[in-house]
Symmetry: C5
Subunit: 354 residues, 5 copies
């Protein structure tokens, strides 16, 4: 039962001024700054947002990553200093945003969902990631889960392998989005394996417990779909936006990540089709199995009913029942019973009722 | 049963000249005026519409709110004085309008649905809110329910906190729409909790009463969807309209409320998918439970039928039935019965029919 | 059964030259002419179409209404005199046209469906109305049903109340369309009440007869939908057409009637969703009710089967059956029977099978 | 069973160079030429394609019709002489083309499906018709079925009635398309009648045979839909093409045939909805009927089971069973049996189980 | 069961930098080069990619085909030399790409799926084919399956038959795509035959095994659809791309292959509709068959139950049962039994329960 406890309310939460106050837990969050150009990399964990301010007007690319931040004043200050619209900062703080893309001329604002897969519960979890891409900086805001999705990216910056260090903030923005979308494939692969396991169980031994598993799959897919579908327009918006922030070379990469997104969506739709096919198969298996049992039992009973009737006839107490006096009457009746019973049995067998 | 009494006709009513006369109950309605600029606020409840006229050409922003108004002449007069098209005033008076947006150059006309949730009946109620946004005034027309959705807005005007007092009539218009859409999330959250409660009941104990609850959920969702879907184009129309009334700064906010609307619609679709999944689960649970019972009972009967036949055989009155004379015949038969009955029992057990 | 006799062929009929000849019943039709401007109204029923010709080039607005016309030569003559394209006149004469709008520069051509509701059969009937809107004239062609939908319009022209007399032929055209669309709401209201009646029956007492009623509802909705859906593009076409015939003031009104059309379509879709929900509820109710009965009866039988077996055992004729000789044997067995029967009864009760 | 033998492969066949060779049965085909202008008509059946060549540059309109042609060299020669793209000639020869429209500047190329209805098999048959519309000529290529759809057209050319002779090759092209689409209505009318017949059977006596009929209907509709849906874009493409071949006057007529096409598609969709409704009705009828029977039989059995038990009790052989000695014991038991049986009967009757 | 072992994960695999390393099996692949113009053809299998480099700037058309290549350095070198974007080379190496088209100005990049049909498993297999079309060269990259789909193309180049040798690299690119799409028809034809076989089995003898076959069909169709749907936009993109690489003459051919693609998609949709119809038919057949059996058996039992009761009555041991003493009592009861049994039999027969 606990597997059904995903709180719906989670999917409904939102971030209007009205109910924001309640969530305002002023958690400080962990802020890391990576500042690089082709030649140098500087990386540090800062204690206060003010330490980020000097990076605003440098020529290098600056990546400010905030982990597990509620709507602290610190974040608001950060936004103000970098001239980010207050609505954006509100959106970052509120957890229940729908994936979206907005072009504010000076910077681009993206909300994405990072997915995680809890194998014990076979449940997909989501976490909001907000990304602001400016001329020479990128800010990313994550929830409280460990953001290991970006770790390989950090490694690539540190080592300077690949194109990352050579290209600007827009390419870093792309790299963040790409890391998130690539991670979806991992989740889908795990989820796909889970579907397969259930499908095998379904074919080998379709019991009633499997129905709840299928229902659970369906529910996770509804949830997954809701998280991923909007991504399509988000990334297509990012690719097509006329802002000068995204350079032409980066657009080619964005087209690639867009193709991946479509593939993710396709796969989810395929999963949905498959799960709905499994439901049909389950219902028909159950009904077949039940029918099989009922058929055998009913046929079985139908053979004994006439025999019991025959026994009943010779159990009557009439004074004048000549058969009762016959020497071989009993055996004759037993023989008749075997004959009738056997006849019915073979008749039912022949008509494939048994 | 009362939960099904939502009158369909309610969803069909309309406001053509033909049947308008009938509803013309000339209810006076309560009219409040709030007039403000960055420095000052004036607020009063007026007795006659004529008292609103002086506000027409002031530089301040004027918000005229009419509660519970039928199609009184007073309202018509108000419209005439502010040069509002007669069709708009008709639309305001008629209760069954579909959410819509129209741009009349001098002013914008919006029809929205304000939702309420009657927890006792688990029923969603709707009320029409019409909003006219002019250069320096906003008029809002509500039904008879208490319009507490706007109360926090009034408070914000009074205290002057936030941007509201600094920006014009278009921002006030946005704020009204935002208040209504934000309220939807509250309704959805409550409705989502209701769905969850029923889902839990469904998993723990799926009785026939739950079917009616699921049907009720489905019906409420049909109703909800009908109220909310048109909102998408209404708000997108408002955001994109080329009228000079909406200033550029406000458009950013409208884009935000548009994103909220999409989220509301997404959530409703998710609810629909979930309720339809619940229906599948219910039907399969019921059929499983029934099958379980039938299987046990039928198997049970099938064990006794051969035994009864055996008893019947030795109840026959044939003169020559050697077994009847045997010293241990009775016990032998009883033993045979235990053996046959037990054998069948274990056979059925092994084939998982019991 | 008569409720299913709606002839499908009706929905398939068409007006190609090939099969037109057959329907050419040369019915004369009743022709009325109303000619008005702001100051004067003239109204007459004409015997021959030639009497309409003088109105062609007057400055006043002329409304020529033809009731119950087949494809008479008279109508063709009328078309020729007013320079109407022969295809249009063919379309008017043929009864099975799909709602459509065409812009012929000099005039606009509309085909609409007027609906009627036959309460005895709970059946929706349709009738084709063709409207030609010219610079200073409007022609309308109806079927043989009484065109009382236009009666209130005639009254408004006669009395000169409202805007009708002040505005041109395009407004008259709008008024005709509006009268037809407004009438749809009436039909939908009646149909909605019918759905509600059946829904109440369904909840109170779901018998097999209700299935046919639901099927009937579904069929009527398929029919209704087919009649109304095309209206959307018809009226949107009319509103957006670049012809000079539709003046700007009238466009506002057309936008209003377009909003009504969308509302009609929404309502039909809502009805469809509701009827499909009713079908689910019906099927589940029937199956629940059946299961309830089968469960009780099977349980009932299952209690008596072991008891009958016990009676059978003591009906055996073995010579040596000590129990039979016991003084209280009979009563002991009766007591055992009560015990077993009662035990099973309470067991089944506890497991909620009874 | 033969009704299910429609070869699927038929719907999959295609005309790639690879498998074309196999079908190249070099059937000569029957070629007829009709050459006309407003004043004169010449009509002849030609033996070789070369006889058609002189018509290429005449001022008159030439209609070359080829019946039952495989991919003969003759046809290829014809194409070459009239400067038709080789791909077009390949398309004409291959039988499994999808309806399509292509504009080759000098001429227009159309592929349509002509439908036929085999009433014995209640099966819809299709045949490919390819039409090439040039400046002053039209070529049509049909399959082997009798092309009587065009016969009335030929008659209209011969007699010179109507507009056909006065207008150019584009109008002739329209007339061919119109003849084909008009013929669809005939097919739909017949098919609609067939649906009605089955619907009546379904309501009067829903036996298992009807399921296969409904399945057959569904299959024919899938087939029909596949043939007709692409028509929409074909004819809309023809109407909107910017080629100078289609004159403005003809466009009005094409708009009309487009409206007919939409109507055909609407009707097919309506049929689909209806057939799917019939399936629901059938399944529910069958299950109702079955339930009715099971209910009566089970109730029936349930009445006799307690009675048999009572008889069993007094069939026991206990020595001390006082009732057996009573003078009126037998009658008392019979009375009790009537009482119990009757009581159960009325109880079941009251609960509407019988 | 093995037929369900298609690994889902296969459909989820992808080619992100992260998991690419794992697949990097550095398989050398077989590289063949065909270089031709209208006059000459040169064909060779090369050992190292460097041998392909001289063909870069020739005036002839060069087709480089790589079979069974993993992401070898060799391929990367090839890409670098021909100025292909690194992302493209990554896409070629990763196996799980979605069909796509991208225009890189200097060359066009296509990913397609080549399908194969494993008749033993009735399973459709797919293999990725990547095609790069440059000004004067075409590169194709296939998986490890035998690429016999291109064999006839090679033959056509060698013999110089047809247009292939006369036209440029763009036509060769078209020819490759055409070969792949034409091959789909073959697959569909085989799959269609498989559907037909199962349909026949379904109608003749619908056993439970068929449900798994239908489920398998459904699953293959989900898979097929996922492979083929994206083709539509791929080929439409190719046809409409504004790149100078595709010449006008080739566009005509691409339009043709586009029409084929639509036909392939149509056919898949038709198959889906058919398989879903088969599911309905199967479920209804199974339930009909079951009902038939249950009806007969229950009726059968219902006839014997009253007879057994009668026998039970005369098996009672009352002292005073006058019938038992009657001379013809036994025969009278037997006659009554025949009468009751026969009466019930004919009654059930008449009500069509037997």
């Amino acid at each position: 039962m606990p597997r059904f406890t995903r709180k719906l309310s989670k999917t409904v939460k939102f971030s209007s001024p009205a109910n924001m106050a309640a969530e305002n837990i002023n958690a400080p969050g962990k802020i890391t700054v990576i500042d690089y150009d082709e030649a140098t990399v500087r990386e540090k964990t800062v204690a206060s947002v003010e330490e980020c301010f000097p990076f605003k007007n440098t020529a290098t690319v600056t990546w400010i990553n905030v982990d597990g931040g509620g709507r602290t004043e610190a974040i608001e200050k950060l936004g103000q200093y970098f001239n980010v619209h207050p609505l954006v900062m509100e959106g970052i703080a509120g957890a229940g945003q729908r994936p979206k893309f907005e072009d504010f001329e000076d910077y681009l604002f993206l909300v994405l969902k990072m997915l995680g897969y809890d194998e014990a519960q076979s449940e997909i979890r989501e976490e909001q990631v907000s990304i602001i891409i400016g001329k020479n900086f990128v800010m990313s805001f994550q929830g409280e889960q460990d953001g290991d999705v970006f770790d390989s990216l950090r490694e690539r910056i540190r080592t300077g392998k690949g194109r990352l260090r050579k290209l600007g903030a827009d390419y870093l923005g792309y790299a963040l989005v790409d890391a998130i979308v690539d991670h979806y494939f991992l989740i889908l692969e795990k989820f796909g394996e889970h579907i397969e396991t259930i499908e095998e169980q379904l074919i080998v031994n379709p019991g009633p417990a499997i129905m709840q598993k299928i229902y659970h799959l369906k529910r996770e897919l509804i949830f997954l779909r809701k998280s991923v579908w909007p991504l399509r327009e988000v990334i297509s918006g990012l690719e097509r936006c006329e802002s000068g922030i995204i350079k032409k070379t980066t657009r080619t990469y964005l087209r690639d990540v867009y193709a991946h997104t479509i593939q993710v969506i396709d796969t989810i739709e395929t999963f949905r089709d498959m799960v709905s096919g499994m439901l049909d198969l389950y219902l028909s298996s159950i009904s077949n199995k039940m029918n099989e049992i009922m058929k055998v039992l009913t046929t079985f009973a139908s053979i004994f009913i006439p025999l019991t009737f025959m026994a009943g006839v010779y159990g009557m107490n009439f004074k004048y029942m000549p058969e009762l006096e016959w020497r071989w009457g009993y055996y004759a009746v037993l023989a008749a019973m075997v004959f009738v019973g056997g006849g019915l049995f073979f008749y039912f067998k022949k008509r494939k009722w048994l």
